[in-house]
Subunit: 386 residues, 2 copies
């Protein structure tokens, strides 16, 4: 396998982009990424997206977006793994470059979720869960996470208020990210007083519905050298996917993200590191409970102590394992099929010292993890600055 | 790049599988493919599918199906390129094995289209076209193909009846395929008298809405040797994708499948062959007009003479370039996201001498071509028997 480098990044501000169509939003991330990489062509475009069919009436995004950004003719397709679609597309791009099939691949994640009527977006998101055994019973995706959160609070005797540190950290970091949807700091008091959505998940436990796109340009070592933009080189040191059952009731232990453990173990092994070597971790905090479970399943906290890590301040920029360093899903926003690519764009910013006031000191190894469903597809990447 | 072999195949009968859910249909192709390959595990599962979100309310098919067929934990994701989704998933599997990332990959295509109410399937299929500039104007996917067919008839002065040879050939071949949806032979008279759908496309010009799944197991050379089932070895000698604009009005020439030409030229070059070396061609005859355009853009007929090839009997099993040898999309059926994998399963049957009364004599090189939309994504594979 050949080394794979990220030679360009692009992203749109996350928010409600009613004036931009799906293809425009993708364009607004891809063109900056291509400019950043100083490329005018690529061998392939892989698009991560979950809901374009349901919400926009448009499938076939690979060819559509390739054409719209001026790359008509090239290999292009869409990759889908629910909310993990962005990293799934990255995984495909990584495989194609690492395996020597392509030299330059653009990976874009895009989602347009806000320009809809009624509960269609909520119904769409439920497609990440098991349709026959979960969604068809009327349980929404938030409700599934609420069940997990309640179980966690019961099993480990954790009060709801303790989860507030995740939300406070995410909003604090989003305030330093010009691309974030909610760059407003909040306090633990804001968290406690937030409106309830699906008990015990309140508004501040939950990531928002939003629009956005992010893109990266992947390249082989010779191409990375040829198109070097002068910044620190960033290499993908590991890429791994693992799966679990979609339905939570089918898992051996609902509070253990088996696929996170499997994919991070593969990734640690591939990169030759342990969790202690990770300088920051862009995790999938779609809900605060997911942040806690992720810290545990990836080896950053003992079981039942993920929340404690947050309480103790270890997840902040200055902490032992900074998470959601640019706002995370909670406050940067969670345009579902784009999120996995946003995480990688932000990791590159950190590794290249471009994270501004959010800069993690001495950031050399960053980990990103994108989750599909309530843990059924989990995709881990480890990036290193060279 | 390493050589990639197909070591197992599986397929379901194409038809109306109301009693089987989406995951069951996929299961019914994957398990036979795994048995055929004599494998119990795989490194990854890539699923081709277009409409599961729209028609079944289920995305996230990678993890769902991996779990359901007993492969919980492995890398899995869905690949989508409209009606080209099946071959797009195969392309990803090919890349992963050729590049040395995986040794054994299962590629499955699945679609469940018939268990719906009203015009939802027609609306779903229109998602292969440009939503903003075609579908939103009310043009259905059949209507787009009707525009192409009418233009073809006008430009080349071809009567509608001449296209009947494609339908007659497809149904003749389907009669010898136990997996075909319509194994009933038809005559030119049946064709002429068929009900009109979207003038000039009649019922016999058009492939059916249906359910089905097909699967193949891909393997590296050492694994192909270890799991050799005694039949002739089949190698993927070429794999290529090309794209064009989704909207037909954006193309330089609506009657020229630029992406077919691009992808087949890449494939011929990769395999080191020319069209004259191809012993049979599983083309994407979603409509008879697509069969004609495909023969032309891939170098089997001069422009405007694709229909003539059919009239002259050159597309039959005994002809110069047999097409739709197991019934094609027209008569085997077109479960859209599965079709590209069905084509490859059938090509393996031909190359291994398992095509029964449909056997192409001395079949050593087969080409398959799967099309997304009205030609916006075109994926070509060349298979050789060794």
């Amino acid at each position: 396998m050949r080394p794979v480098y990220i030679i360009g990044i692009g992203q749109t501000v996350v928010g409600e982009q009613w004036e931009r169509s799906l293809r425009h939003i993708a364009h607004d991330a891809i063109i900056p990424a291509m400019r950043d990489a100083q490329i005018e062509r690529a061998d392939a475009l892989y698009v991560g997206n979950m809901l374009s069919g349901e919400l926009t009436g448009q499938e076939h995004l690979g060819a559509l977006i390739a054409d719209f950004v001026g790359l008509r003719g090239i290999e292009a397709m869409k990759v889908e793994a629910a909310c993990g679609s962005g990293a799934a597309a990255l995984r495909m791009g990584y495989i194609a470059v690492a395996g020597g099939i392509h030299d330059v691949v653009i990976v874009a994640g895009v989602e347009k979720m806000t320009d809809t009527v009624g509960s269609v977006t909520t119904a769409g998101l439920a497609m990440a869960a098991d349709q026959e055994y979960e969604a068809a019973e009327g349980v929404s995706f938030v409700a599934l996470n609420a069940l997990l959160m309640r179980r966690y609070m019961y099993e480990y005797n954790v009060p709801h208020a303790a989860f507030g540190y995740f939300a406070v950290n995410a909003h604090h970091n989003a305030a330093g990210n010009p691309y974030a949807m909610f760059p407003e700091p909040i306090t633990l008091d804001t968290y406690r007083k937030a409106a309830m959505i699906a008990d015990p998940i309140n508004l501040m436990d939950s990531s928002p519905i939003c629009d956005g796109a992010a893109a990266v340009v992947l390249a082989s070592e010779p191409m990375a050298r040829a198109f070097h933009n002068g910044r620190r080189r960033v290499r993908i040191a590991a890429s791994a996917v693992a799966t679990d059952s979609l339905a939570i009731h089918d898992r051996r232990d609902p509070l253990w993200l088996e696929a996170a453990w499997l994919s991070s173990q593969k990734a640690y092994s591939q990169a030759g590191i342990s969790p202690a070597d990770v300088d920051f971790f862009e995790l999938h905090d779609a809900f605060t409970i997911m942040a806690a479970l992720s810290l545990e399943a990836n080896g950053f906290a003992e079981r039942g102590r993920g929340v404690r890590l947050a309480e103790e301040g270890e997840i902040t920029i200055e902490g032992r394992i900074p998470i959601a360093t640019m706002g995370g899903l909670k406050a940067r926003g969670h345009p579902v099929g784009a999120t996995g690519v946003y995480q990688v764009v932000e990791a590159v910013q950190q590794l290249q010292g471009l994270a501004g006031r959010n800069q993690v000191h001495d950031a050399n190894i960053g980990m990103t993890q994108n989750i599909g469903g309530s843990g059924a597809t989990i995709i881990t990447h480890i990036l290193v600055g060279e």
